[in-house]
């Protein structure tokens, strides 16, 4: 039933995302792409390169760094910025740095200061009025209702009850001074779509998504990787080499690994399809504040 005129779902998703990226570049004054180095960011960056080819994407990449990302993420980040010909801006919240905020001692405050506050500070510092993010609607319930163009007040707050209607593919990018838009070009992609697209387009991703022997310790039921010597081992605790990989990547002390033998992309996809726990389950962030964790975070300005 697929003839030359019927596009596949991936072709339609790609076309929609490219259309969104181009609309923002045409209508916003100073756009930026938030680049987290994860698989969703990898797809978003690839789509941006396609959207503006043969020009490089006409906006910089912004990495809101917590200093606690995996080493492999920093490596890929720098490589991809170079390959895409885009400027890479790295922002670290100075206050969080000065106060030594870290995921081991400060829990939720770590995410709040490095990520939520760091992001707001970076956007204010550079005066970006539009920021692309790699969030997907299938990730989390409150995201299922968020617009592709999501408006933020001058203080970066989100009001779920006051969202603009979004009809057809007509996006209203107009805003008052100081207000900004977060744009989610891959809103309609699912986790499987992301993986399939990476597979089909041979998009570079962080090797941590593939299984390998890595030093780990078990904490509160989560397998954590000892990525550098900042990891405070308990007395007598010795990292164990396990065959692990990650389904999602963030700060290494907050990101749970899964034991796996999936070392290739098809094997990763296979494992994802046969697995019975959702992607965000490895992340501590959704579990705060009961069922409405993410919704509350977004209202406060989390991406």
């Amino acid at each position: 039933m697929v003839d030359a005129k019927t596009l596949t779902h991936l072709e339609r998703l790609e076309a929609e995302s490219i259309h969104i990226l181009r609309e923002v570049v045409s209508e916003a004054e100073k756009p930026v792409m938030l680049y987290s180095v994860g698989k969703d960011s990898a797809v978003m960056l690839h789509l941006a390169r396609k959207a503006f080819y043969p020009s490089p994407p006409p906006f910089p990449l912004l990495h809101v760094d917590t200093t606690w990302k995996f080493q492999e993420m920093y490596k890929l980040r720098d490589r991809m910025a170079q390959e895409s010909g885009m400027e890479l801006l790295v922002y670290q919240n100075q206050e969080a740095k000065d106060r030594g905020i870290n995921p081991f001692d400060h829990g939720a405050l770590h995410t709040d200061m490095w990520k939520t506050e760091g992001l707001k500070q970076a956007l204010n510092l550079y005066g970006f009025d539009a920021a692309f993010g790699g969030a997907r609607r299938d990730e989390e319930k409150s995201r299922a209702k968020e617009r592709i163009f999501s408006f933020r007040t001058a203080s970066h707050g989100w009001d779920p009850k006051n969202q603009r209607p979004e009809l057809w593919n007509l996006y209203n990018a107009r805003k008052a001074k100081g207000e900004s838009i977060r744009i989610f070009p891959i809103s309609n992609w699912t986790e499987l779509d992301i993986w399939q697209y990476i597979h089909l387009n041979d998009i570079p991703i962080v090797p941590l998504y593939f299984s390998a022997k890595r030093p780990t310790v078990e904490r509160d039921g989560m397998l954590l990787m000892v990525d550098d010597d900042r990891f405070p081992l308990e007395p007598g605790e010795v990292p164990v080499e396990r065959s692990i990989r990650f389904r999602t990547l963030g700060c290494y002390p907050l990101t749970g690994a899964v034991e796996s033998e999936a070392a290739t992309l098809p094997e990763v996809i296979q494992e994802m399809l046969l697995t019975t726990t959702s992607e965000r389950q490895g992340r501590a962030i959704d579990k705060d504040a009961g069922g409405a964790g993410m919704e509350k975070k977004k209202q406060e300005g989390y991406f």
């Binding site: 005129k5 181009r22 045409s26 299938d138 409150s142 209607p165 008052a176």
Partner: protein, 638 residues
Amino acid sequence: MSDIITNDSVYQTDSLIAEDIDAYLDVHQHKTMLRFITCGSVDDGKSTLIGRLLYDSKMIFEDQLAALEADSKRVGTQGQEIDFALLVDGLAAEREQGITIDVAYRFFATEKRKFIVADTPGHEQYTRNMVTGASTADLAVILIDARKGILTQTRRHSYLAHLIGIRNIVLAVNKMDLVGYDQAIFDKIVADYTEFAASIGIAAFTPMPISGFKGDNITGPSENTPWYTGPALIEHLETVEVNSAVDADKPFRMPVQWVNRPNLDFRGFSGLIATGTVKPGDAIRVLPSGKTSTISRIVTMDGDLDQAVAGQSVTLCFEDEIDCSRGDVIALADNPPQAADQFEATIVWMADEEMLPSRSYWLKIGTQMVTATIQQPKYQVNVNTMEHLAAKTLDLNAIGVANLSTDKQIVFEAYAQNRTLGGFILIDKISNATVAAGMLHFSLRRAQNVHWQATDVSRDFHAGLKNQKPAVLWFTGLSGAGKSTIANLVEKKLARMNRHTFLLDGDNVRHGLNKDLGFTDADRVENIRRVGEVAKLMTDAGLIVITAFISPFRSERDMVRQMMQPGEFIEVHIDTPLADAEARDVKGLYKKARSGQLKNFTGIDSPYEAPLDPEIRVDTVAMSAEEAADAIVARLIP
């Protein structure tokens, strides 16, 4: 849980994933996509149906299921059973109130297709949400509670789905388990709906008896409804035609989003193809300017394409350097859309603040952004009864028909033909809120009458009737060079060859069309401009136009060249040295000019700028008028 009927075969088969992941990925890679909307309220079991679709397609993971089971016991409405609705009602405020406020998008897939479901609330106060969800849908599932039959909201939802142009409508008579799977009840509802559907213009719909809660006729035929022989819901969703496939068969149109200009050697026009297909070599027209060119390349990062279709985002390059920027529409040269500035439209008002006739709003249509003012509505539609009511304005969720005007012409098509060029949003200029959505019906006659594109019989059709290619043979040269003589001979020769021609002679035109003009430089320019416009109209009519004017200035001849289609302007330089022309002096004008009786005479006290690179140059010293005419005809008709 035990009596839930599922049929896993339509979904991703675990065995294939486990045994041959590459084969599975190949299948997934070739899936198509269908976007649909579910219309109904919580009472109709809408959220339950969507939850069921997600659950059956294994889009729910164990951790979500565990949370769902816990939530079902805490706030669910189904006792100890799993309340699928809780999967779908996302926002905290909604869970507390037990209603779906916004539009939520859900995803699931079967072996054949990926689906995006727009889940929208059913109550009248959420009409705008439903219209929003429906705007991108290929299909609408109208849910009816089998115990209640057709309700006011069924009519409203059907009207809205039809209004937004959804061609595929599924009438899902839900909760059949609660009426004992009684065929008579189903048949009665279908009969009632058939009558109603016809009354609002819905030509066809697909009725099916289902139970979202129990799973009847969702993934496969239910044993409980042996009398029903139609498709199960999923089966139907997997096979209906999607909009993009229909759009591909329409004439080519692509609104330009962005001009891609990385360096001086590359100039591409990026956009999402709204309708039709495009190939290198296709003749295109840029609207509203009307300039034409040919597609040279379809550029993507994965390599140039041989063809692109509706729904694809591409970058197009032209053979010629013609003006084209964001907001323009690239279209098939032979069959372009029109431009106009006054329209009749249906408007759905989406803001708390009511519509203000005569206030200016931003209007965004495709990639065009203009200022628009709306007149007082002709009528408002009662969305429950479809009655037309008098209205002075439109308030939140009101739907009406009104005329509107824009501050400049926009390229458009009727919404029924083209969602991209017919659907628009209105934006408040102060708050920047999206206050309305609209659908253009047609442009008003008075705008259409002044627009050059407003003809159905195209220039190519005119030319085809005459079996010739239109052209302008633009003779230029000094007074007395022999332009009129040779032009006259050329026309006679063409007429003998059954070519349809018209000779515009400089002297003759000055007796009528241009009798108000003198011989100052400004008047000479206007003289040529008018002749150029007349010649252009004649080429639109399919004629071969021959003009004989001194036309001394290069810039005016180039201006006329720009008015014409590429290749249709043929500059013929009748090259006679001034001394020879003056020696002939057929009309005695040189003598008058030399004596000062005639001012601004070309070659004497007004310059003649000879063509630098004419298509044809005739040396009248070297050849006779006959020979010159033969040479010109041979050049035109090889």
